[in-house]
């Protein structure tokens, strides 16, 4: 069953859709979908609507909603940096709607992951797990250049087709080399920092905040990465470089998937892995 719902954040009305499982078929868990920007509660190519319907058909309640200033919700646009209060309002709404014991998991993509981790302190008493797809952490051109070199050019030179094209003069070598040298320059040039208003306290790098909060979590965290997405693979590389290994953090890779899982069979795989993650988190202690 789908309910059109309203709740309040900073005196603004936020609108959403609550997918509710029949009581006797419920698994006792609710997902809160946190949109990546700049998407509404529906998502690009209806990703969130379809995911919610799939999960609900498999016994999982789901809330999809618009942040302040997005979609149908009232207020000025806050962008992902300011979406923390909206997420907290959504989680509080779920708690009120399902007063009996109910596990709550945040599912997010791109900068929806970023905002979930940035606000981990406020969220940890409210949620029982995180499922994050292709987190955005490429907060400067140096990291983007690094990911592009490693995952795009790095893979290209291993392909036979690249060398055939090269010897048959099908590649604009000068143009490609300019791009590569530009990336190398960006990697070794001075890091650029976020603008002052992106994070008001001490302007630490976004990456440090995310990693510190991530390794401070005690609940299960699942990452789902798309192999053909530089944003997600950039984060994966960063995560795998850390020496701080935690047993509550799991990773899954969907080969051939892009940032928002546009291909039908990739979308199906995403849904299936999400359900697996939900079961795993639901069955875990705590």
């Amino acid at each position: 069953m789908e309910e059109a719902v309203t709740f309040t954040c900073n005196r603004n009305k936020l609108y959403g859709i609550l997918h509710v499982v029949e009581q006797d078929q419920s698994r006792g868990v609710t997902i809160c979908i946190v949109s990546g920007g700049p998407q509404t509660r529906v998502g690009g190519h209806r990703l969130y609507s379809q995911l919610a319907r799939y999960l609900c058909a498999n016994g999982v309640n789901v809330l999809r909603f618009d942040y302040e200033g997005m979609g149908d919700s009232e207020g000025e646009l806050v962008r992902f940096e300011g979406a923390g209060p909206s997420i907290i309002a959504a989680l509080d709404f779920i708690k009120q709607r399902f007063p009996k014991k109910m596990k709550i998991i945040i599912w997010s993509v791109c900068d929806g992951c970023t905002i979930s981790l940035m606000n981990a302190d406020s969220l940890h008493d409210r949620i029982d797990g995180l499922i994050m797809c292709n987190p955005f952490i490429l907060d400067n051109e140096r990291k983007l250049a690094n990911a592009h070199l490693k995952y795009y050019y790095g893979r290209r030179i291993l392909k036979k087709s690249f060398w055939i094209d090269l010897f048959l003069f099908r590649i604009d070598l000068i143009k490609e080399m300019k791009v590569v040298f530009n990336h190398i320059y960006q990697i070794f040039s001075q890091e650029r920092h976020l603008p002052d208003n992106a994070y008001p306290d001490k302007q630490p790098m976004l990456q440090e905040i995310i990693l510190r909060n991530l390794f401070g979590t005690s609940y299960p965290v699942w990452f789902i990465f798309s192999s053909d997405d530089m944003v997600g693979m950039g984060f994966r590389a960063l995560l795998n470089k850390q020496k701080n290994h935690r047993t509550n953090i799991k990773q899954k890779l969907i080969k051939g998937a892009d940032h928002t899982f546009t291909k039908s069979h990739m979308k199906k795989e995403l849904f299936s892995i999400t359900l697996e993650a939900v079961h795993s988190i639901n069955d875990s202690k705590g």
Partner: protein
């Protein structure tokens, strides 16, 4: 405190599918006309959403109720895109119009649409009685050209993974013919859906039933409307419709990220609506 109330709900559309509706109601309805908004197709719906919301709120503030809704297979409504056709969408529009007439007891109807939504609004108006006003934001006038461009985006999106592939511009069309459906940047469309539009030629916009006043807004960064839109508007006038064409020099917010408002089109639209009863 806004001078309107809002309500989100579901109502029944074509083939008993539940459609998401969003009503912007003035605190006191002071006009005879109710407005139904018909959204554009695929990503254009997502990218233009906030402009439609902001404009609806401004219209409600001036005393007119506005119903926005998701067509079958779109947004929060039931159904999948590959299951629907233009005829289902026309039925959805009929349901939305009936809803606003019955629920709010309004006497006159204004249909407002953007891009393919504008075309659907016009198609409905010329084939059904009782539409008093039309607002068409940058309507799609050539369905074949429009869907060809949409389908070609899939070819472009496949290029990075197929540097020397035999992918051709016809590949998605071939897939559509062979399998009956094709995934275009995440949107699965069927031959059934596409054919329901391609079967129409330009005479589809000749009106069978009288239509009231119509304004066509051309929206682009050029200094004047495109030849296609000028020609389209002139044909409607020749066919006996009361049509005005107005050009707004503004960015095409339906195909740009981070364009949350278009104050020019919002102001011009609310100004024109103010002349309605």
């Amino acid at each position: 405190m806004p001078e309107y109330k809002e309500r989100i709900f579901f109502f029944e559309g074509s083939k008993k599918r539940l459609l998401l509706g969003f009503l912007h109601l003035p605190v006191s309805v002071s006009r005879e006309t109710g407005i139904v908004y018909c959204h554009p197709f695929a990503d254009e719906q997502n990218l233009s959403h906030r402009v439609a919301v902001e404009t609806s709120r401004k219209i409600a503030e001036s005393g007119f109720p506005v119903l926005r809704f998701d067509l079958s297979g779109c947004g929060d409504s039931e159904g999948e895109l590959h299951e629907v056709s233009r005829l289902d969408w026309q039925e959805d529009l009929r349901s939305a119009i009936n809803f606003i007439k019955v629920e709010l007891k309004i006497q006159r109807v204004l249909l407002w649409g953007l891009r393919l939504g504008a075309s659907l609004a016009l198609l409905y108006a010329v084939n059904n009685p009782g539409i008093d006003y039309l607002i068409l934001w940058q309507p799609v006038t050539d369905f074949k050209k429009y869907f060809n461009q949409f389908i070609k985006r899939e070819v472009i999106s496949r290029l990075p993974e197929n540097r020397n592939a035999e992918i051709s511009i016809d590949a998605p069309f071939n897939e559509l013919d062979q399998k009956g459906q094709v995934n275009i940047i995440g949107y699965v469309i069927s031959k059934y859906f596409l054919d329901s539009f391609l079967i129409l030629d330009k005479s589809a916009f000749n009106f069978q039933k009288p239509v009231g006043k119509c304004i066509v807004f051309s929206i682009s960064l050029m200094d004047q409307p495109s030849f296609g839109l000028k020609d389209f508007s002139e044909k409607l006038i020749k066919n006996g419709m009361d049509v005005k064409l107005k050009h707004i020099k503004a960015d095409s917010f339906w195909d740009r990220y981070w364009r949350w408002s278009c104050p020019e089109i919002t102001a011009e639209t609310t100004h024109w609506i103010d002349t309605c009863k």
